[in-house]
Homo-oligomer: 171 residues x 2
Amino acid sequence: MFVLGIDPGLSRCGYGAVRATAAGPRAEAIGVIRTDPHTPLPNRLAELQRELRDLIGELRPDAVAVERVFFQVNVRTAMSVGQASGLAMAEAIGAGCEVVQYSPNEVKLAVTGDGSADKAQVQSMVRRLLALRQEPRPADAADAAALALCHLARSGLARRVAVAASTGARR
Amino acid sequence: MFVLGIDPGLSRCGYGAVRATAAGPRAEAIGVIRTDPHTPLPNRLAELQRELRDLIGELRPDAVAVERVFFQVNVRTAMSVGQASGLAMAEAIGAGCEVVQYSPNEVKLAVTGDGSADKAQVQSMVRRLLALRQEPRPADAADAAALALCHLARSGLARRVAVAASTGARR
């Protein structure tokens, strides 16, 4: 199974593509899509849409896992996250992918064993689980990879993820 | 000039296409796109995206005017409106349209002469300005047509709109 995690945002939209392999979960692409804050909003949205479409089209994931956000510091942020997440989910369905949503707490629990883990813990566990040389930065990229790992663990297709997570948590 | 107004929403997304003609503003399409609340969110978003794309592709407006929402009753509503507005703006830019945003107060002021007008006043003025037999319903459809009228008035290309609005307001 090949999962693309997306941490939606307009200034920085994190993505992390993780494939379940016999040797454990493997990162195939981790990064962020950025749009210029000085560009008018509609053009930024159109640019993000194109980038997401290209990314999904190139990677062709089986499933796309998008962060589900209920609470935000303010409505302005909620609008912006809503706009980015809407584009991500519509593009994923349009490309024939399964789309799932997980809350930040579900992701933290699945990846670190602690639903209230901080960003540093998530970054550290993502690095360990994916055997990366260094922690993915910025945090949005690590969060997106964590979303993909969460879906693999939840799907029961990557028992190794869960095993590695529990081992990692005890270290 | 031909303007498509969009009042973004997931359950009901209002649209109103208004053309500036020598005889005054003329409605070419007014209605709502609905998505089924029982369908999973990603599929609803993809459906709304397709419908918006088809609508914009059929009408080929010069400009698309989308409601700008800063404040919402709750974050859940803001997310949902954000998702719908993001799709509308990205599709409009993708189709080569100019995209503009107006706040509800700007629209009410332009159409009724009163920035704090209620929904009934907006519906009534939209009916008068567009010489419709009856008021557009639901309110989302009237709001979308009002957005288009607002942009025509603001563009200075439809002086008749402003004149008719001030006449209507005095009635």
